[in-house]
């Protein structure tokens, strides 16, 4: 095993923390991510990481807890997006974009004030890219509590949420309050994204939210399987990424090693591309079966992926 696990991998405390917090973030992100991809809110999911980051830089400015800053800003951002009209599919990306633009403007101001007051320039990079290896072990309990709450919320509203995502008209005909459900989901999204962006950085947060979910939705049409598959993919990618990043310090003694986010994102990106290849093969096979080369893809969940 020496060739795979470089010395000290299993006895390093930062690695333990990274493995735990990585797995928790991956699972929560995967579950929220499947719903996000089905609802077509990937942009909002990504934008909320930037909005949460704004809260993070604001928190360090006023000296309040960064966790509070990340999650608070995420929730405020979700509310603002709802106000700007994120619920309607038309103009959804616009509402997200406006909030994102305003938030990054604020971010610029906060970071400017941060750097002029404390001269700690490293903060930009730290907030943007975070590192799973520098997570404070004391954040684990808080992260787990918020994660369980988010997953519980998703399970609680699962059926009406799914119906209102796939067919808003049918859902409202059945008396489901589509708009409040959408807002509730945005809140769950904001909390999970805020949590994962403080734990693992905003880049990885989007990667774990969208990547495994989109890949699994391309591989299976059954939503229940998609949830399980997304969790497995997310956790495997995270752990492999941590392993590679740890090992990369030993590959070339002179270099500083590569960041863990790079490895995790690369694995996720490649698995998405690979799932596309298998999807092509399947649709070619289906076309050969029906003997009709110009048949349109069936609508429904497959379209969603």
């Amino acid at each position: 095993m020496r060739w795979l696990f470089e010395p000290g991998f299993f006895s390093s405390a930062p690695v333990h923390t990274a493995i735990v917090i990585g797995a928790v973030s991956a699972i929560v992100s995967a579950i929220v991510g499947v719903v996000t991809v089905v609802r077509g809110q990937s942009f909002a999911g990504h934008a909320l990481t930037d909005v949460a980051t704004t809260g993070g830089s604001g928190a360090s400015l006023w000296g309040i807890s960064p966790l509070l800053g990340f999650i608070g800003a995420g929730v405020l951002g979700a509310g603002a997006m709802d106000l700007a009209g994120v619920q309607r599919a038309r103009g959804r990306d616009l509402a997200t974009g406006i909030v994102l633009g305003a938030a990054t403007g604020l971010s610029a101001l906060f970071l400017y004030l941060d750097t002029t007051r404390s001269a700690s320039t490293g903060i930009t990079q730290q907030i943007l890219f975070g590192s799973i290896f520098t997570v404070d072990p004391s954040t684990i309990p808080v992260a787990v509590i918020f994660s369980v709450a988010t997953v519980a919320l998703i399970i609680w509203i699962y059926r009406p949420l799914l119906l209102s995502s796939l067919s808003p008209e049918l859902a409202s005909a059945r008396g489901i309050r589509v708009r409040s459900l959408g807002l509730l989901f945005m809140l769950a999204l904001a909390i999970s994204v805020g949590l994962s962006s403080i734990a693992i950085g905003s880049v990885l947060s989007t990667a774990l939210l969208i990547g495994p979910a989109a890949t699994s939705l391309r591989l299976t049409k059954n939503l229940r399987n998609a949830f399980v598959l997304a969790c497995v993919l997310g956790v495997v990618a995270t752990w492999l990424g941590i392993l590679f990043a740890y090992d990369s310090y030993y590959w070339d003694p002179s270099s500083q090693g590569l960041p863990v986010s790079f490895f995790i994102v690369a694995i996720i990106f490649l698995s998405y591309l690979a799932s596309g290849i298998s999807g092509v093969r399947r649709s070619v096979a289906r076309r050969a079966d029906t003997g009709n080369a110009r048949v349109a893809p069936p609508s429904g969940v497959r379209e969603v992926a």
């Binding site: 938030a103 403007g105 590569l258």
Partner: protein, 268 residues
């Protein structure tokens, strides 16, 4: 406020606002906000890579933003475009993180690439911005009708023999050009806010495409000029004012749209 280094800042801000107003109008019309966010943001990784191997950052920016435009356009044919955009963006950012980890002296540059340093524009930086800006505006005016038709009625456009997917890729390249030129000058975030807020507000004020397009340019210009003046007096970053004023325009547009709709209903 209008002397020395500020002359270049006013000049470049005006060009950037004009281009953002024109290209942004179609970004809003086509619902490409995510792409307009992802391409310049991801492209900054290219600048990090270029500075690592000792090449002009502009080349790195160009390569990465073109690569992003082409791969988003290509992959969108098989997957959902918002998913593809998200994945392309994070892949580029992750590469950027890898590049930065290998170099030691990048920190101040990250800030300036993301948030821009409009007040530090040198005269030699003016020319590429002007050229690329002209190319973008020219490309949009040549493709104007085709862009409009594929945005509003893709089915009709397809039946007339236009290829919506091909037009989409060309438009992504236009976004790439118009953002690449501006990233080193005004930052990836600022150009995005400018491309979304003013055009979105303009569309609330008028339904006619030509009027809305002109309004979009005017609002973008006013936004940038006001931001630059406020930044000069307060010393706060330009990006903050652009973000805030753009969002303000959008809110104003929404209020106007609601008011005029309710007035139209009262008349009935």
């Amino acid at each position: 406020m209008f002397s020395g280094f500020m002359v270049n800042a006013w000049l470049i801000a005006t060009i950037v606002a004009f281009v953002a107003g024109v290209v942004g109008f179609f970004v809003v019309l086509r619902g490409s906000a995510f792409q307009a966010h992802a391409i310049p943001n991801g492209a900054f990784a290219g600048a990090a890579g270029a500075s690592l191997i000792g090449v002009n950052p502009l080349i790195g920016l160009g390569v990465f933003s073109l690569g992003a435009a082409l791969s988003i356009g290509r992959l969108s044919r098989r997957g959902r475009s918002d998913v593809v955009t998200a994945l392309a963006l994070i892949m580029m950012l992750a590469l950027g993180a890898a590049f930065i980890s290998q170099s030691t002296e990048y920190e101040p540059q990250i800030f300036s690439l993301l948030f821009g340093e409009i007040l530090g524009v040198s005269t030699s930086q003016l020319l590429p911005v002007i050229v690329l800006g002209l190319v973008c505006v020219l490309a949009v005016s040549v493709l104007y009708r085709r862009l409009l038709l594929t945005s509003i009625a893709p089915e009709i456009a397809a039946s007339r023999g236009l290829h919506p997917a091909r037009i989409e890729t060309i438009f992504l390249i236009i976004i790439a050009c118009s953002t690449t030129m501006t990233v080193p000058v005004v930052g990836a975030f600022l150009i995005f806010a400018l491309m979304i807020g003013p055009p979105a507000a303009a569309r609330c004020f008028s339904n006619r495409p030509e009027v809305a397009l002109a309004l979009s340019v005017v609002i973008a210009l006013v936004t940038v000029w006001a931001s630059l003046a406020s930044s000069y007096t307060t010393n706060w970053p330009v990006g903050f004012f652009v973000g805030a004023i753009s969002a303000g325009w959008f809110a104003l547009g929404k209020v106007y749209a609601t008011w005029s709709r309710s007035r139209a209903e009262q008349r009935r």
